[in-house]
């Protein structure tokens, strides 16, 4: 009898240990962890940074906190055992956007929040109850409407005043990339390898059929002078006619160039005076002539890059995932190491008045770095 009781106790103990250890193993495993890669935005004398579960407004000059708000943790329909796989509460991928006296934040759990820039008070949230599909790409605000693409493939035009949907278009694809707007056209790239051109007045497609690449697209399309440029995970950069959706040129791994990309174009390239600066996950920044797609040169940064580059006066600023911040002189295409942060950088960079703002993930800090000297002006521990 006593032996049986011991066996039962052992069994129960073993079960509990197994449950706890498996939960710990699965939920703490890096493979399950959802780190957002949201950046920051400056408006006036304030910089806004979203992080996991928080939106913080900081004084741009010294990094002191003006206000901080908890971003509502949605009760997403994720199983308690799913370790946040269904929809991680308050994880933010999209950069915050400021328009007028409102700062907007979109969450991966599928909600858009509007806060007053001065007080930090929550003005409204969409939807007010429940949630839409998760949002990874950023928001575009234009003429009283918010345009956004959700992970599930729907592109929505939302009226800011009424918080009602003006139109909605279902691409039936997965969308991670931020949309890009020019005039009355919204360009939306999908994880399912396609690029759509949507008429913002009607919500209908403009091209006969979407443009297709051979790999998923996570970078936002960029528009310049009648041409849309996209980077793809098939290791290619494409130039597409914005009117017809026809391919103009393509630069890819098979190109006859001195350097060819060996990995993904995850980050959104930067275009400047007919030159494209495209960071790649192979550690090189490919500098391409935007007129014909020929490679001008490639600069080795040593590590993978997934952050969107920015322009600081006559310098292009890029960041590697390992936290090395480089400055590229656009006159002679030479690189200069501004700062090594030794922290993970995946968020897009932001520049304002010669200061580069870098949001690191995992250890969440916001750095204000002098774009010329590389000196850290201040930093704020977000988490």
């Amino acid at each position: 009898m006593k032996k049986n009781r011991n066996t039962i106790v052992k069994a129960i103990l073993l079960t509990v240990i197994l449950i706890i250890s498996s939960l710990a193993a699965s939920c703490s495993s890096s493979a399950y962890t959802n780190y957002g890669w949201t950046g920051s935005v400056v408006d006036g004398d304030t910089i806004y940074v979203a992080s996991q579960g928080k939106l913080t407004a900081l004084q741009k000059d010294n990094g002191s906190v003006k206000w901080q708000r908890e971003i509502e943790k949605d009760v997403a329909p994720a199983s308690p055992l799913s370790c946040g796989m269904g929809a991680a509460a308050s994880v933010i991928y999209a950069d915050p956007v400021v328009s007028g006296d409102t700062v907007y934040v979109a969450s991966y759990s599928g909600k858009i929040f509007a806060y007053n820039t001065a007080s930090g008070n929550l003005l409204w949230k969409y939807p007010s109850e429940g949630y839409v599909e998760g949002i990874i790409g950023g928001l575009i605000i234009d003429n009283g409407l918010i345009y956004f693409a959700a992970v599930g493939g729907t592109v929505t035009a939302l009226n800011i005043e009424t918080q009602e949907v003006e139109w909605r278009y279902d691409t039936e694809d997965t969308i991670w990339a931020s949309p890009c707007m020019d005039g009355d056209t919204l360009f939306v790239a999908s994880y399912d390898k396609r690029l759509f051109a949507i008429d913002i007045n009607s919500g209908n497609l403009k091209w006969d059929r979407p443009f297709e690449t051979e790999g998923p697209i996570t970078a936002a399309p960029i528009y310049d002078n009648g041409v849309v440029y996209i980077g793809s995970l098939d290791r290619g950069i494409y130039a597409i006619d914005a009117q017809s959706g026809q391919l103009i040129w393509e630069f890819n791994a098979d190109s006859d160039a001195e350097y060819t990309p060996r990995n993904w174009f995850w980050a959104t390239p930067l275009i400047l005076d007919g030159v494209i600066y495209a960071p790649n996950m192979d550690g090189f920044v490919y500098i391409i002539d935007s007129t014909d797609g020929t490679l001008i040169t490639a600069l080795d940064m040593g590590n993978a890059m997934s952050s969107d580059p920015v322009l600081n006066e006559d310098r292009v600023i890029v960041a590697t995932q390992h936290g090395d911040i480089y400055s590229i002189n656009i006159e002679n295409n030479t690189k200069f190491l501004l700062k090594s942060l030794d922290l993970t950088v995946q968020s897009s960079l932001y520049v304002d008045e010669g200061i580069v703002y870098v949001h690191t993930i995992k250890t969440e800090n916001l750095y204000a770095i002098n774009g010329g000297s590389g000196v850290v002006v201040w930093y704020y521990e977000v988490s």
Binding site: Y93, W176, W264
Partner: protein, 333 residues
């Protein structure tokens, strides 16, 4: 190079690239890819599996001798351990032989789990990290993203039905491989393992992406087939009992209703036979009286119309073979 980097190079990198490349060959179906990859892994590991099963079987065969030793040296645990080791050595059995293949499979599970998580982009941040594992094969870049839908499953999220199937298949493998218990304590332990292991895997399946559960199911089915082929037995799994239980859950078939009707008919015939016997006895009593009277009065001997065989009952008629079958038999003769 730290251990994480070594793991990435020798396990995770190859697993991820094979999965992606294979999925492109297999019509972009990631579910099919997992099934085919499981079969390949199990085929590669077949020599080890066979060794493990043979070792398990040998261990099972040794159980009576071990039980004897336990009885003999119940009070001297050191002597018991020595004798057990001697027995293992003499029989050429290594207890570790049962565990080694299982331990070798563990890294494969972990690599597969991590690969599935990354390839299916369960968390966007982890898909981003996938790039550092990709080889420069063009097929790898064009095969992404893989299709996470397979049958009714989203392979990136847990599935309840699949978790139950993992538990059921795991339970069968446990029952098949369980050693016969030599004492009540061992029996309790064996029973606990038979229940605990499937429960544990059900729990894992509810926690991890169903792509991994799919791997476990296919792997378990392969184990069941190999185990049966090698041992020619279902182990402690009482197959007829479960088949009967399963049949009991199913609606009666046509053939079953025929059998039932036949049984009912036989029962009714037997009842009528009993009635006939009763009636006959009653008739015989009265007939005997009459015959005795007639025999004495008319011929002095008993007259039997049925040639001495007695009166034919309905049961006797029912026992007769149908004409058709009798004719066939006579034709064969």
């Amino acid at each position: 190079m730290n251990i994480g980097a070594i793991w990435d190079v020798i396990a995770l990198g190859p697993m991820i690239n094979i999965l992606i490349g294979l999925s492109d060959i297999l019509f972009g179906s990631f579910g099919l890819t997992i099934i085919v990859l499981t079969i390949i892994i199990r085929a590669v590991m077949f020599p080890l599996t066979r060794k493990q099963m043979n070792a398990t079987k040998s261990m099972q065969d040794l159980q009576p001798k071990l039980a004897e030793l336990q009885k003999k040296h119940a009070k001297d645990s050191q002597k018991l351990a020595q004798e057990q080791m001697r027995l293992y050595k003499e029989s050429g059995v290594s207890p570790a032989g049962c565990l080694l293949p299982m331990l070798i499979q563990m890294p494969i599970w972990i690599a597969l789990y991590q690969s599935i998580m990354r390839v299916l982009a369960v968390a966007p941040g982890n898909f981003l990290n996938l790039s550092e594992y990709l080889y420069s094969w063009p097929i790898v870049f064009k095969a992404l993203p893989v299709d996470s839908q397979f049958l009714w499953l989203n392979l990136g999220t847990p599935d309840f039905l699949l978790a139950l199937l993992v538990g059921a298949s795991m339970w069968v493998t446990q029952k098949m491989s369980a050693s016969p218990a030599t004492n009540p304590q061992q029996k309790a332990q064996a029973q606990m393992m038979t229940v605990m292991m499937p429960l544990m895997f059900v729990f894992f399946s509810l926690t991890f992406p169903s792509g991994l559960a799919l791997y476990w199911i296919v792997s378990n089915i392969i184990t069941i087939v190999i185990q049966y082929m090698i041992t020619k037995s279902w182990g402690s799994l009482n197959v007829p009992k479960y088949v009967a239980m399963f049949k009991g859950l199913l609606p009666a078939k046509k053939g079953d209703s025929k059998d039932k009707k036949l049984k009912e008919r036989i029962a009714s015939v037997e009842n009528s036979k009993k009635e006939d016997v009763k009636a006959l006895k009653a008739e015989d009593t009265s007939d005997n009286t009459q015959v005795a009277e007639e025999g004495t009065d008319a011929s002095g001997r008993e007259e039997r119309q049925d040639g001495g065989g007695g009166r034919k009952t309905s049961f006797d008629r029912a026992k007769q073979k149908p004409r058709g079958s009798r004719n066939k038999r006579s034709k064969r003769r």
